[in-house]
């Protein structure tokens, strides 16, 4: 086996030192009934790189790669161009194959980029502090609800109707048994899901969770909501599933958010069939000791040189155990590295240009779809919007896939029970969408819708 360095001679010599005759002896503590006497024969034996690569490549070929098709899918995962330097750098051995930076003297590389990452996330969201990442946007959203409960000592969460339903579900799951949370969620609306939202807040409400742009792509001014929510002693949790939108849109922090959670995949991370992704988590500084997840902080070494460490660990499971703010341990380290490198490459100007370009591509796509007979349902959008089709969206999407076009996400895939959304399709267009892609979409759509 190419990954196993021992020769039989090595093993024999080591056994001699141990004083055991066979390796089997070392497994003496295993109940005899449970000892397997030979390799499991219902699994194949070891194989060469070439054989394994062939096997995996055959599986990969059974998929339609979004790189080979016009792709207009969004709904919480976005296809963006990832600069070549990103993937090169995250594969540096010292980043890829290191552990959580518990030994800061030999982990300054990881610690410094985490400190920079936290700063970038804070700047993007307009918040005071951010942590070193959570699993993904959805689990970050659930952690935000739990944190709001800790901060407010209240136990009810109000979710806006147009929160991504996967986020809603993860909130429900993760709060189900934790702290007697009560989750009040509403049905999706094609109009304004902020309508009447503040009225659902009462004095047991820990937080209101609202997504911006919402799941249909609507960008809204949350300032009135923030005031109303905070006036009732609750926190406003803002969810952003397309982090790039913050290159063009007013940040949640400026709108008054108390906690902001985002899916960070768009920067630096491939679609990857849904994971690993990157949960961003930012909040007001005064809540920091209630935050979940790791935090890198600045300090000095014994020579007085600036350096970085993981800090405020007394919030975390490895110190606080059942009293920890979260059970999270392994987070999305390397994804946060990809994010921070991509954002460093873009910088202020690159981010703004890219955001603008996304808006322009989305507008061109919307125009083409309207030209193809669709009704545009999202008045103010970033790079994603909803359209009404002439036929059931799931049928249309499947039919377009046969044309080699990944046209969008049928709303009913997200909300299977919402019959009124049957003909609604979510469409996202990023900088990776070319004029040819848009033309292919429009043409195929005309073909399919007649």
């Amino acid at each position: 086996m190419r990954y196993l360095p021992h020769t039989e001679a090595d093993r024999a010599a080591m056994l001699r030192t141990i004083g055991a005759a066979t390796v089997d002896e070392l497994f003496a503590d295993v109940p005899a009934s449970a000892r397997l006497s030979a390799p499991l024969d219902d699994l194949p034996p070891h194989a060469s790189e070439l054989a394994v690569e062939r096997h995996m490549a055959a599986l990969a070929r059974q998929n339609l790669s979004a790189a080979d098709a016009p792709c207009f899918l969004g709904a919480g995962a976005y296809r963006h161009h990832i600069p070549a330097a990103v993937d090169h750098l995250i594969q540096r051995s010292e980043f890829l194959t290191s552990y959580t930076p518990y030994q800061p003297e030999v982990s300054q590389g990881t610690l410094q980029y985490l400190f920079e990452f936290q700063t970038q996330v804070a700047l993007l969201t307009g918040m005071e502090v951010a942590n070193a990442s959570l699993y993904d946007g959805a689990s970050a959203c659930a952690e935000a609800v739990l944190m709001a409960a800790r901060v407010t000592r209240r136990h009810r969460a109000v979710l806006a109707g147009n929160l991504h339903p996967h986020y809603r579900d993860v909130v429900r799951t993760m709060t189900r048994y934790s702290g007697h949370m009560q989750v009040d969620s509403a049905a999706p609306v094609l109009g304004d899901d902020l309508d009447g939202l503040a009225e659902r807040v009462d004095d047991t409400t820990a937080c209101v969770v609202v997504q911006n742009p919402d799941a249909f792509g609507n960008l809204r001014d949350l300032r009135p909501l923030a005031q109303a929510v905070q006036a009732k002693g609750a926190l406003l949790v803002v969810v952003v599933t397309e982090i790039l939108s913050l290159g063009a849109a007013m940040p949640p922090g400026d709108m008054g958010a108390d906690i902001v959670v985002c899916e960070g995949q768009s920067l630096g991370n491939p679609l990857g069939f849904g994971g690993p992704y990157l949960g961003l988590f930012a909040s007001r500084e005064k809540f920091v000791r209630n935050m979940p997840g790791r935090l890198a902080g600045e300090t000095v070494d014994s020579d007085g040189r600036r350096g970085y460490v993981l800090t405020l660990s007394t919030r975390e499971q490895h110190i606080r155990r059942e009293k920890a703010t979260s059970n999270i341990c392994t987070n999305s380290g390397l994804c946060s590295l990809a994010f921070t490198i991509h954002l460093s490459l873009l910088g202020e100007r690159g981010l703004r240009d890219l955001a603008g370009l996304n808006m322009a591509r989305a507008a061109a796509t919307a125009d083409a779809l309207v030209g193809a007979g669709c009704e545009l349902l999202t008045p103010v959008y970033f790079n994603e919007f909803a359209v009404r089709l002439k036929k059931p969206a799931s049928k249309v999407v499947d039919a377009l896939a046969d044309f080699g076009v990944l046209a969008g996400v049928p709303a009913t895939r997200l909300w299977p029970d919402a019959a009124e959304l049957d003909d609604v399709m979510l469409v996202a267009a990023t900088e990776t969408v070319s004029d040819d892609d848009i033309a292919a979409l429009a043409t195929a759509l005309k073909e399919v819708q007649g």
Partner: protein, 516 residues
């Protein structure tokens, strides 16, 4: 602080082992400012065409107008920044990384290559199922491996890491108990458990009670029996446990737990020791998470991402989270909604850590059934070799044989003035990453050494030689060596107290200048 201003920065006061340079750099170890300190406004490492002037006009008053504050760097600077930072890290690629409980094994590059195949990396999670049949088949194939290796009939693939897997397992247990109409409130966790165990139990609304260990470092079966009653929902037990020992009474424990109407959650973080040797399903457990980023070599990435699938009994399977992959006549389907079923819900934005699945499956196919068994054998052999080789100079906490990690405590440092921490920091100068320290909590000044199976005998001999040498110097009264360590790393010991007392969690303009 500008980059060039470094020139005038001299470290005075503190005594340094390293000669001074004017630049602040030291040969190939470069001091590197924060990206924010490398900023030139207007610069960018990307060449996006300027969008049409009216591109963002539809946002009206919701447009972002004030500067965000992101630094502008060119690509060469960005590349250099991260290359320099990387060089300040220890890594498994560069050296033995004996972190107990972490399974820092070699990460094959084939796995990285496969994960980047466009047919995997460039799939949108919401593509029509007909266009992702290979991806679904891949998930199913990995699931089959996991079920076969553990001897369990079901597996939930979506948990994002070990802790998420624990949550998944405990939620399934709770949902199952509630379904039985038998809500309970306590979860039993040994003191030696990893912090995620009690934290997860708490997230599941359970009260944690600890169970004691016996002198052999295992669960005290008698004491456990006493703790078991009808308020106990589950036991969370790591096996092999965090002392690196196999729970000899595990079958009896399972029996006792089940007799009390409770369920058995097994923490499978240490599965590496027994993969191919023992099927946990044969031991009577009810569910177990597997850290693909440990046993199945997906890279730790400086802290993540991971993946923590959970294998389950048939009884628990109906409660598993969504989505799931099923195969029927027409191919593979992704079940995203539980049609009136018992699933406790969704744990993750999408379907799971696909990028880790491709890597882990590649790893499994490479090793095969025979190779994975050899993994267990060699990892256990290596740990026992270390235990045997160092027992005369360090103090093993328990008798061997151990499993895949060797646990020492600080008795051998008694009266030397050298602490576990000091001892570990001295390893850094010697070119080794420290072992896991002060964990598990059940022994004093714990040093938990997990070599993994991918270290050669020569490499392990070098570790042993170095630890012997250090132990001897500690005993010889050379405490200064330890107190001053590390002297040869990019940084010496960092002031963690100051960091926590007045946390600086982000860069702010002007702050550095003011500080100097």
């Amino acid at each position: 602080m500008t980059h060039s201003a470094d020139l005038s920065r001299h470290r005075d006061g503190a005594a340094s082992a390293l000669p001074e340079t004017a630049s602040g750099h030291s040969g190939l170890d470069h001091e590197e400012p924060l990206i924010f300190e490398l900023d030139s406004p207007g610069r960018s490492g990307a060449d996006w065409p300027e969008p049409p002037a009216d591109a963002t006009s539809r946002l009206g008053t919701l447009a972002r107008t004030a500067p965000i504050g992101l630094p502008g760097l060119s690509e060469p600077q960005v590349v250099r920044h991260y290359v320099r930072l990387s060089r300040k890290n220890y890594s498994i690629d560069a050296g033995l990384y004996p972190l107990g409980s972490c399974t820092m094994k070699h990460n094959p590059r084939l796995n990285e290559k496969v994960a980047r195949m466009p047919g995997f990396a460039e799939l949108h999670p919401m593509q029509p199922p007909a266009t992702v049949q290979g991806a679904l088949a891949c998930i199913d194939e990995l699931a089959t491996w996991l079920k076969t290796l553990t001897g369990m009939p079901a597996v939930a693939m979506s948990p994002a890491a070990g802790a998420a897997g624990e949550l998944c397992g405990l939620m399934a247990i709770r949902a199952c108990l509630e379904d039985r109409g038998d809500a309970r409130e306590i979860v039993l966790v040994p003191e030696s458990a990893h912090g995620t165990n009690p934290a997860t139990a708490a997230m599941c609304g359970y009260r944690v009670e600890s169970i004691p260990a016996d002198a052999r470092g295992r669960v005290d079966l008698a004491a456990l029996r006493e703790k078991l009653n009808d308020r106990v929902a589950a036991i969370m037990l790591t096996n092999p446990n965090t002392c690196g020992l196999f729970e000899t009474d595990i079958v009896e424990i399972a029996q006792a737990v089940h007799e009390a109407g409770a369920l058995f959650y097994c923490d499978g973080a240490n599965f590496n020791a027994i993969v191919g040797r023992v099927r946990p399903g044969d031991l009577g457990i009810d569910c177990m998470h597997i850290n693909l980023h440990k046993t199945f070599s997906t890279p730790h990435g400086g802290g993540g991402p991971g993946s923590g699938p959970v294998v389950l009994t048939a009884e628990l399977a109906p409660f598993a989270p969504l989505p799931t992959v099923v195969q029927d006549g027409e191919g593979w389907r992704l079940v995203e909604q539980d049609a009136g079923g018992k699933s406790f819900g969704r744990l993750k934005g999408f379907h799971g850590q696909m990028g880790m699945f491709t890597r882990a499956l590649t790893y499994m196919l490479s090793h095969g059934s025979d190779g994975l068994r050899q993994v267990a054998d060699d990892s256990v052999l290596n740990a026992n070799y270390i235990l045997a080789s160092l027992q005369d100079v360090m103090t093993p906490s328990f008798d061997g044989p151990c499993m895949h990690e060797a646990l020492f405590d600080d008795r051998f440092l008694k009266d030397t003035g050298v602490s576990t921490l000091d001892f570990a920091k001295a390893m850094i100068d010697e070119g080794f990453h420290p072992m896991t320290m002060y964990f598990p909590l059940v022994v004093h000044g714990a040093m938990l050494i997990e070599p993994t199976e991918t270290e050669s005998k020569a490499s392990i001999d070098m570790l042993i030689g170095t630890l012997r040498h250090l132990a001897e110097r500690a005993k010889a009264g050379d405490a200064d060596l330890f107190h001053e360590a590390p002297r040869l790393a990019p940084r010496r010991r960092l002031d963690e107290t100051a960091a926590a007392r007045k946390p600086i969690l982000r860069w702010r303009p002007g702050v550095m200048e003011a500080a100097e």
